[in-house]
Structures are given as structure tokens and as C-alpha cells.
């Protein structure tokens, strides 16, 4: 039984997981390999930053809502104030989210940011201000996504609690009807 469960429990969205990791890995790999073998800073900067921006967009708009059912953005209301908007699936759908997808999502977010921090330290040690610029941009994008999804996750957990309460209420209502009919 446990063996069968392990086999059947798999990634619910393998394609999305693949693209979620692909852009992060390609940005990091291109930056590391280019700084070792290529000497053209402009090309390194443009391609690495474009890959990082593409990763930011994909995580924020695609893999975030498919893998963990969350989405966030910032807008300005009529009073001219900045407002954070969080969107998540209803409690029932969130309860059915795949655990492996969620695990992969959060771990890759943190690992990518940690990798850029390490690379930034290396650039700082070697006193390369221009490459520090690349790392700064990529790190900003990673941290923005982490902050956005962390806030969104807190908001989603609150919704799950509300859904649990409503589910209990509906259950009690149904049992009440059955008992009334029995009488």
C-alpha cells in the first residue's frame, strides 16, 4: 500500500514545474558560465537579466497560481494609495493542492535567492562593481517574488480557516435536517 501510494503520489503539473525551474537554472547557469569563459559584460548582463525577468514573470503569473494556487500584485486605489492584492483559490481547491508541487515551488524560490546572494558575495570579494549590478537586479526580482508570495500565503491560510469553519457549519446543518426528518 505504501509503495503504491509513493508511486501514485507524483507531481500534478510536471510541465509547469519544469518551466518554473528552467528559467531560474538557465539564468544562474548562464551567469556562472559566462563570467568564467566570456569577457563581454554587455552580453552577460542583458541575457542574464532578461532570463531573470522572464523567470520573475513566469513565477508570478503562471507557476505560482498553478502550483500553489496563489497570485499577487500591487495596484493604486482611488485615494492614491498603494494596495497589495492577493488572490487564492477557495479553501476546497487549496486543500486539494499537490504537496510535491508546493514543496518544489517554495524550495526553488529560496534556493535561487540564496544562490544570487552567494554570487553577489563573490563579486564583492573580487571588487567587480559591474557584475554586482547584475546580481543586484536578479536578487531584487527574486526577493520581490518571495515577499509577494509569503504575504499571499498568509492571506490564503486565513481563507482556509474560514472555509473549514463553513464546512463544519454546513455539515451540522445537514445532520440537523436528517435528525428533524427522522423525528
Amino acid at each position: 500500500m505504501s509503495t503504491q501510494q509513493e508511486v501514485t503520489e507524483n507531481y500534478a503539473n510536471p510541465k509547469t514545474c519544469f518551466f518554473h525551474v528552467l528559467f531560474k537554472a538557465s539564468a544562474l547557469a548562464f551567469y556562472i558560465l559566462s563570467t568564467l569563459f566570456v569577457n563581454n559584460f554587455v552580453i552577460i548582463f542583458v541575457i542574464t537579466v532578461l532570463l531573470a525577468a522572464l523567470d520573475f514573470w513566469v513565477v508570478k503569473n503562471v507557476s505560482g497560481r498553478i502550483l500553489v494556487g496563489l497570485r499577487w500584485w500591487n495596484e493604486i486605489n482611488d485615494e492614491g494609495e498603494s494596495v497589495w492584492k492577493f488572490e487564492c483559490l477557495d479553501g476546497e481547491s487549496l486543500a486539494r493542492m499537490n504537496k510535491k508541487d508546493s514543496w518544489l515551488f517554495w524550495w526553488t524560490l529560496y534556493l535561487a535567492a540564496a544562490a544570487w546572494i552567494i554570487l553577489g558575495i563573490f563579486s564583492l570579494i573580487r571588487l567587480q562593481a559591474d557584475y554586482l549590478l547584475v546580481v543586484g537586479v536578479c536578487l531584487s526580482l527574486s526577493i520581490a517574488n518571495i515577499i509577494g508570495f509569503t504575504k499571499c500565503n498568509k492571506d490564503a491560510k486565513k481563507n482556509i480557516q474560514d472555509w473549514t469553519r463553513s464546512a463544519l457549519l454546513s455539515g451540522s446543518v445537514r445532520s440537523h435536517l436528517q435528525s428533524a426528518f427522522g423525528v
Binding site: N40, F41, V42, F45, V46, V49, L50, A53, W57, N61, V62, R65, G69, R71, N74, E75, I76, G80, E81, S82, E87, C88, L89, D90, E92, S93, A129, D130, L133, S170, R174, L177, Q178, F181, G182
Partner: protein, 276 residues
């Protein structure tokens, strides 16, 4: 004849009701009180049998439909709670089904983002009805347009440069990115009411005319033409940035907020002219 028709019409819903009765019996079979419930329906069935037996002698072939009619009578009483239980999951499905951006296709997301970039560009660089109230213009701010314009300007300048392409690109990018941040902080420190990212977005979109000017200067290697083109695009960028920055601060401090903006654009203009 009319009575026969009336009897035959309920037969169709009676079959559906009997199906619902079976479903209900299956539902109630699991809990133990379900066994008590069928004991009560037989008593109204017995009451209905004498009713059917009284007209029994006259229509001999109608005997079979009458007991069938009596069964749905008893069934109609029991399925009263079934619609209540059925409606609850319908409501739950309705609650889950409303569409939002979480369930939209990826292509719709891309189109919406691109449309927003184009809309923001038009609002900032070309005359728009919100010019008197700049805060409304960039309510739906984004940083994709500014990012593209900064990288494009850096690339154009570095391509124009014959030597030190890397330094030119790095300086251009750093000046523009850090410049936008410093200008926004300047307005905040002057006590202005401005939203950080909205300001970054606006200053980035205002680079569009300078991008066009840089592209023209890259293609034409004439100093006089460069000066004319840069002057025009510089004025255009300044004109685009003026209402937003001036509206954000106290009128008496307007000059303090606007001067650094013009200074940044002028320095970018000099970069465009000087690089050959």
C-alpha cells in the same frame, strides 16, 4: 378518459422520484436510523390500498396502475429533504466556479500585461486627459516598460561606443536605475505625496523619447544633427515628466523636485551626444 390521462402523466415523474427514493435509501442505509424510516411509509401505503380497492371492481385492467400511483404518493413525502441536500452542492459548485485571474489561460495573462504596457506608455509620453491629475494616469503601474527602455538605451549607447562598451553600458544602466530611485527619494524627502514604484514607472516611461533620440543618433554620425535630435527628445521627456513631479510636491518646492529630473535627462542627453 381524462382520469386515465391524469394518471399516466405522473408516471414519468414517479419513475424519477422512485430513482431519488432509491438514492435516498442508499444514503440512509449507511446510518442505522435508515432502517426505522421505511417502517413508517408502509402505513400510508396500507391506507392507500383501500382507496384503490374501492374503485377496483369497475376498471379491472386499471388495477396495476393504481398501486403504482399509490407508491409515488408515499415516495413524494419522503424525498422532501433530498432537494435540500441536492441544492447545497449546487451552491458549492457555484461558489467554486466564478472565474478569476487564477484560472485564466496563460495567453490571456500575456495579452493583459502587454496591453497595460502600451496603455501606460501612451498615457505618459503623449497628451492624455489625466494630465491635470497625474496620479490617475499610472494607477495600473508596471516596471516592464521602464526596464526595457533602460536596457535599450544602454545597448544603444554601448553599440555606438567604439571602445569601452562594457563601461558605457554599466554607467548608463547605473545612472538611469539609481537616478530614478534617487529622484523618487528626493521627492519623498521634500515631503511630497508620491508612491515609490509609481514614480519609478513614470520616470522609466519618460525615457522613451530619449531612446528614440539615441537610436537616431546611432544611425546618423552628424554632431549638429545629434544636438538637434537630443534637444527635441530631451524637451519631450522633460515635458512628459513635468506634471507628475510638480503635482507631487508643495508648489514652493516645485523647483527643488524638478531640477534633479532635468539634470538626469540632460546628463543622459550628453551621454548620447558625446559617445561616438
Amino acid at each position: 378518459m381524462s382520469h386515465n390521462h391524469g394518471d399516466t402523466i405522473p408516471l414519468h415523474p414517479s419513475s424519477a422520484q422512485s430513482d431519488m427514493d432509491e438514492i435516498e435509501s442508499l444514503i440512509h442505509a449507511a446510518p442505522s436510523p435508515a432502517t426505522v424510516l421505511p417502517a413508517r411509509p408502509p402505513s400510508p401505503t396500507r391506507a392507500s390500498i383501500p382507496v384503490s380497492s374501492s374503485p377496483a371492481p369497475s376498471p379491472v385492467p386499471t388495477k396495476p396502475p393504481f398501486p403504482a400511483a399509490s407508491i409515488p404518493i408515499s415516495v413524494s413525502v419522503s424525498p422532501v429533504p433530498v432537494p435540500a441536500s441536492v441544492s447545497v452542492p449546487i451552491g458549492a459548485d457555484g461558489f467554486g466556479s466564478p472565474p478569476n485571474t487564477l484560472t485564466e489561460p496563460v495567453w490571456d495573462t500575456i495579452k493583459r500585461d502587454l496591453a497595460r504596457i502600451v496603455s501606460n506608455l501612451k498615457l505618459v509620453v503623449f497628451p492624455n486627459p489625466y494630465r491635470e491629475d497625474p496620479g490617475k494616469a499610472l494607477r495600473d503601474w508596471d516596471l516592464w516598460g521602464p526596464f526595457f527602455f533602460i536596457v535599450f538605451l544602454g545597448l544603444t549607447l554601448s553599440w555606438s561606443a567604439s571602445v569601452k562598451k562594457s563601461e558605457v553600458f554599466a554607467v548608463a544602466f547605473a545612472v538611469l536605475a539609481a537616478g530614478a530611485i534617487i529622484l523618487t527619494l528626493n521627492v519623498l524627502l521634500l515631503g511630497g505625496h508620491i508612491i515609490f514604484f509609481q514614480s519609478l514607472s513614470l520616470l522609466g516611461y519618460c525615457l522613451f523619447p530619449l531612446d528614440v533620440g539615441a537610436l537616431v543618433c546611432m544611425l546618423k554620425d552628424n554632431v549638429i544633427l545629434k544636438i538637434v535630435v537630443v534637444t527635441i527628445t530631451l524637451a519631450w521627456s522633460s515635458w512628459a515628466a513635468y506634471p507628475f513631479m510638480s503635482a507631487a510636491v508643495n508648489p514652493r518646492r516645485k523647483a527643488l523636485a524638478l531640477y534633479p529630473v532635468f539634470l538626469m535627462y540632460i546628463s543622459v542627453g550628453f551621454l548620447i551626444i558625446a559617445i561616438d
